[in-house]
Amino acid sequence: MSHPATSTTDVLVVGGGIAGQSVCEALRDRDADLRVTMACEEPRLPFDRVSLSHLLVDGKDPEELRLRPDGWYDDHAVETVVGDPIVDLDPDAGVATLASGGAIAFAHAVLCTGSTPLLPRLPGVELPGVIPFRGPEDCRTIRRAAAAGTDVAVIGGGLLGLEAAYGVASQGARATVVHLSDRLMERQLDDPAAELLEPALRGLGVTVLLERQTRLILGPDRARGLRFADGEQLDCGLVVVAIGIRARTDLAASAGLECGRGIVVDDAMVTSHPRILAVGECAEHRGTVYGIVAPIHEQARVAAETLVVLDAAGPGMEVDHGSAGPAPGVPAEPDVGEITGGRTLYSGSILSAKLKVMGVDVVSIGDGDVPPPPGAPAADGAATSAAVHDRAAGVYRKVVVRDGRLAGAILVGDVRGHELLLDGVNNAIEVPDPLGLLADASQASPADLPDGAQVCNCNGVCKGEIVAAIEEHDLGTTQEVVARTRAGAGCGSCKPTVTEILKVVRGGRVDEATYLCPCRKQTREDLAAVTREQSLESVSELSAACGAGRDCGACKPGLAYLVSEVNDNRHREERHARFINDRVHGNIQNDGTFSVVPRMRGGVTTPSELRRIADVAERFDVPCVKVTGGQRIDLLGIQKEDLPAVWEALDMPSGHAYAKSVRTVKTCVGEQFCRFGLGDSMAAGIELEEMIEGLYTPHKVKLAVSGCPRNCAESLIKDIGLVAIEGGWEVSIGGAGAGTVRQTRLLARVDTKDEALALAIVFLQYYREHGEYLERTAPFVDRIGLDVIREHVLDPERAAALMERFRIAKAACDPDPWRERYAPATANQFSDLDGDATPIGPPDRAATLPLTRVRPTTPEAPDARA
């Protein structure tokens, strides 16, 4: 990274801040060959100044805020000059002079000189102990002072000032915010929004003094306090000034470039000299100097395109860059073409910010219709606003409409729907019903965003790009999505949205930290590998081998499934690793009793079975008899010790209505009776259930067979659904009828019932082998992808292998665990230990449960709890 006395480059980037880095990256995205040199004034490579407040709060090493590691600059052939400011610029000659005396000859230069903190011209502002809030050095000073218990006064109640105060308060020191205006963050927030910040400030011990004009900083040797215009004084040991920024234009001005509040640039980011561009906080575009990060990245992309065009045109050539259309938020006039030659030009940015202020979520977008500062002219025309304001909950949500179009929004405490609103402001959508929009926004999720909606405002990444990247590259974690798309790699505030989109695309499941044993951070793959390699046959062996399941034990049922699946059910069964339902073969209820559901394949029964069930219900005084959603009969409220006797009296096999296993195959009447029936759904359902019953699965699996596309058995919301159609059957998978309702996705159409059953079984086996424990088929299908599943289950060779493993596993599974009534699997499987001769009853449910037991069999029983 050394540089000769005079070096030559195609593009000289002047300034090593976020803007300079962004220009380098945007340029390299478009051109790998241009020689690029970045000159950094500060003695370090670019860091993330937006995250500076983190340094203050957690004392992070500034190195951790580096935008890119050293190696990036070598890898991307970006020459860097560090700690050697450029002191002179000659645009006509194309030469920049460094403070060290060296020089850089350039074809084009981009000024990214940023801004300096605005310091008020106050008596005493030059005293020691008066600092801006700008660099890592300032953070260190503030932290040191706060740690020593020094009282800190922060002049400025804007975002930066509040961040400084938060940093001080988080160190346990007293902070006082002194603000000229009558409300905090007055440029972004109106009165009700600003008021909501006050409880959070108070909670952190930050004092706020509004409408205080500081007259002088008290000395004499160092800052000792502030005196205000009204004569009042505030004692303090450190004064942090955070009243704003000023664009750094001195280098540009001395080079003869046109400067106003910033270096004036056109829509191509070119200054008044055709070979010099400017980007970032130093640039003034259409009268606006942007002080937030998102526009910087937009400008950098435009500047990079301009540089590529200029380079292609050759040295000294004049290029008409054309002009961009109207600013975002202004509806484009029809029939006015843009002379951009397919290029992106800059038309300005909607100012928007999403941040946490004192732990409160705040979003400000565009025109918040906030009262203008005293003396400033009011905005043109009257705005229509709709707002909800809940002081108790600390929530304020407001949308602003001008001339019938969405102009801005303020969200405090509840920022749901901010992506939708930002997109609406950018596109100046028509809003006939502001209250309706407010309601819609609170319901909005990233799933509702149009593909073109920008999610990452820092790096300009749209939802569609994120979705495409996830699908194309099979991304499973937020980290992967950020790395590939750069969405969330800027300020990071959109990362939760990125995660939400990932969840939507992956069907509610994100891979981050999917540990089968969370205590030991072991995944299913890790544990399956250990099980296979060491030929382990039981949970105990697995626990001994790697510790899984020994800490809290909650994952043991998952381990038990894993061990059984890897061993094709020829594992060593250990009941301590099974949930209580699988130890006593009933479903535990809220009072510790169990439910008993006898086998009733396809939901088809007989008079004699019904008679037996009725007899059992009466004989055992069963509290509740209920027909289930899966077309079975449920006897509820059975004591554990009564289970074997109830099973014996029923003389029916288990219906498996308690396990993470194949549950029920629901059927409609079908062609046996139904005048619309196209297939024998009852017979097919019964046959299917017989083929698969008793098999454990990663999560419960519910199936249905419908005899025609009227779908009366609800096949399309089952894990596996079969539907008879004219001339064949449809097999579809991954539906869900509870929680998030999902329709199945068609796996295949086949000609015969036998093919349909075989396909259902092959998919079931694929799910058994690849599903995460407690992952239902809906998220499973989303995670794996229907195409991948088809590749496996429709390929004859793979399907045959899956079917073979299914047969082995099925042969080894227990078709009726209720036979343990004859041969208990463990000591006292259903009974208590010895104890009092007259044991007291079960826990008094009246005292512990809000629910009243339904007892339809004894409606006349007096309710003791009344």
Partner: protein, 162 residues
């Protein structure tokens, strides 16, 4: 494996050495060692208290049988080396001291001794503390009004019957 310190009362021999001495000291025989399978729990009732007895690699442990959350049967829970997870809503209870992980509540811990292949239990003096509702003072540790609080501390215990 090393014996956790908290199991010291179970494992040390300062307890009465013979069954008759144990009974004299207030212990009650609740069954044979093999009546409780390894890493499982079984319930007993001693002097009116429902007590869950667990067989662990390091010895036996005994705590109140009813979960302080919603009265769930802790003896039916999943048992790890020194922890049980309630089968109803996944509350986790440390078997060494009866504390509920992450809840500030506690269940009663009881003395349990193995002698000559039999298990002896003596109800402890202390009651459980239902930290979230100490005001109930009914000594059961049961806490009705809070039974509806989200309790998914463990795995999804999806137990719908159909």
């Amino acid at each position: 494996m090393p014996v956790p310190e908290s199991f010291a009362p179970v494992m040390t021999d300062d307890r009465p050495a013979t069954p008759s001495a144990l009974v004299a000291a207030g212990y009650v025989a609740v069954g044979a060692v093999d009546d409780v399978p390894m890493l499982e729990g079984r319930r007993t009732t001693v002097r009116g208290r429902r007590i869950a007895v667990f067989r662990l690699p390091a010895g036996f442990a005994a705590i109140d049988a009813d979960c302080p959350h919603a009265g769930g049967p802790l003896h039916d829970g999943l048992v790890a080396d020194d922890c049980v997870t309630c089968p109803l809503h996944g509350w986790r209870i440390d078997l060494t001291d009866g504390t509920v992980v992450g809840e500030g509540a506690r269940v009663g811990v009881h003395d349990v001794v193995e002698r000559d292949g039999r298990i002896y239990v003596r109800p402890g003096a202390g009651d459980g503390i239902a930290g979230a509702c100490a005001g109930h003072g009914d000594g059961t540790g049961a806490c009705g009004p809070h039974a509806d609080r989200p309790g998914a501390r463990g795995p999804s215990l999806d137990g719908a019957a159909t």
